[in-house]
Symmetry: C2
Subunit: 292 residues, 2 copies
């Protein structure tokens, strides 16, 4: 199977490499050409545009940073749409607005090109190890055809519904992360301000009804006050804005998410946008009088 | 070891029975006498007051519903303090204000009676199976002496710090539950309002960074709209009020917790106080336009 792979960032580069290692023929394109060099050395072909990468591809994977970028890569002047043959499939693994997924799918369908939205969670470590959770929107038959590709990238591939449902699922993921991280931050900062051993508290409550991935894996960041990556606060805020707009356009208020987005905006202004999103604890610690 | 056991409610009754089954000599007291009958039939002695239950006891365990109740049982006219000998220990497993724990410990110390605050989580199922998580405040040597008793009741016994630290830990537990449950409710209601398969969403996101005990064990309550016990909303609200006051008195704001407490107050007014606290999803579902 021939794969066009567009976007060699922190996530995309290790994903493209996994596909090469699995034996797929991969043609890569990246806006900054120098990022293509290591993949070319590992056996990838390189292209001068998404359109060029698309020629002869059965599957085109995109993973770029935001909605306008993915629409340019797919539908723009040099976009995939101008290079893919009928019967090919675009798999967009970026986190973008659900409505953009529907728009792209509609345009591609006019050329008999399939589309899946397939955003993922699991971070750069998941990208390297092929342990991403991939949330898929689109036809079940389209997913079946590209599943061998997605199985190289993720350990959990879940079809959520039709086109756009994968992006809704990713938005829900970020919404739940927002409130859960804020809750753990508020609780642990209170424990520290009350003068008890916050690490003993983490241990005592982390396996019961208060337990979460966050308290197990990020609680120690919060009690120590250091927030190594992880997942950047400024990227999480970008995703929350997508979620808030996707909900707003459906008449759904997300008050807890909106409050956390405001906190992240403050953190970004203060220069902490490149820390892990567990730095929500910065604000909880300050509010509790722990830090200056 | 002779044990006085005060408070045979949903939690206390199965805990007292476990201690009997483990071979301890147990004398029970309950304000409503009829609740003592099944334990008497299982081999417990019964007493007409906490003071009477305390005579000859090495350890007195209390698990009653609120701060004034436990202070009455321990320090009141017929309280444990008037029956316990020097060298005995009171273990209060109720969820009450940390300051009340300190007051009781101080009064008991005047009679050379030890004190531990040892609130627990894990619900009535944990009480029956001896799988509670017990969060202990008090001297390490006092804990060592009663640990054989606590090991019958809980699978995890964690010393958090000095007297009151167990109650702080329990307060943090309820704070983290509040925000985590609210986050999961907000996310899943959004998923449903967007028309995607919310159970597929739960499955896709529940094992990653958005994962929690709540989404795994209560997410299906939230998507189905039924909230069987579990842990009652009105009891969780009681615990949140303790946490908010314990934080307030230390100058610590808990804005997320305060917002969830307000939601629980609305649910209680509307007659849903005896449902599981996952019924926070009622309000999220209504806000999302899912229910009338």
């Amino acid at each position: 199977m021939n794969i066009a792979f567009i976007g060699l960032g922190t996530m995309g580069a290790p994903m493209a490499r996994r596909l090469l290692d699995a034996g797929f023929a991969v043609t890569v394109y990246n806006r900054t050409p120098s990022r293509m060099t290591p993949l070319a050395e590992a056996g990838a072909k390189t292209a001068a545009s998404p359109q060029e990468a698309a020629r002869g591809a059965d599957v085109a994977i995109t993973i770029v940073s935001d909605t306008p970028d993915v629409e340019e890569v797919v539908l723009g002047e040099d976009g995939l749409i101008h290079g893919l043959a009928a019967g090919a499939t675009v798999v967009d693994m970026s986190t973008v607005a659900p409505e953009a997924a529907v728009r792209m799918a509609d345009r591609l369908a006019e050329r008999q090109v399939g589309f899946l939205d397939a955003p993922c969670s699991g971070g750069s470590e998941g990208a390297q190890n092929g342990t991403l959770s991939i949330m898929v929107g689109g036809d079940a038959s389209t997913l079946d055809a590209v599943r061998p590709v997605l199985d190289v990238l993720g350990s959990k591939v879940t079809r959520i519904g039709g086109v756009g449902a994968g992006q809704i699922c990713k938005a829900v993921n970020q919404v739940v992360i927002a409130g859960t991280y804020a809750a753990v931050a508020e609780g642990l900062a209170f424990a520290m301000a009350a003068g008890v051993d916050a690490d003993a508290v983490r241990d005592a409550i982390g396996s019961g009804a208060a337990g979460s991935w966050c308290i197990t894996n990020r609680g120690s960041y919060m009690t120590s006050g250091a927030y190594p990556l992880g997942f950047k606060t400024r990227l999480h805020r970008k995703d929350l804005l997508i979620a808030l707009e996707a909900a707003r356009s459906r008449g759904v208020p997300l008050p807890l998410t909106a409050a956390v987005e405001q906190q992240e905006t403050e953190l970004i202004r203060r220069g902490f946008g490149d820390e892990d999103v567990s730095n929500l604890a910065r604000l909880a610690r300050e509010a509790a009088g722990l830090d200056a």
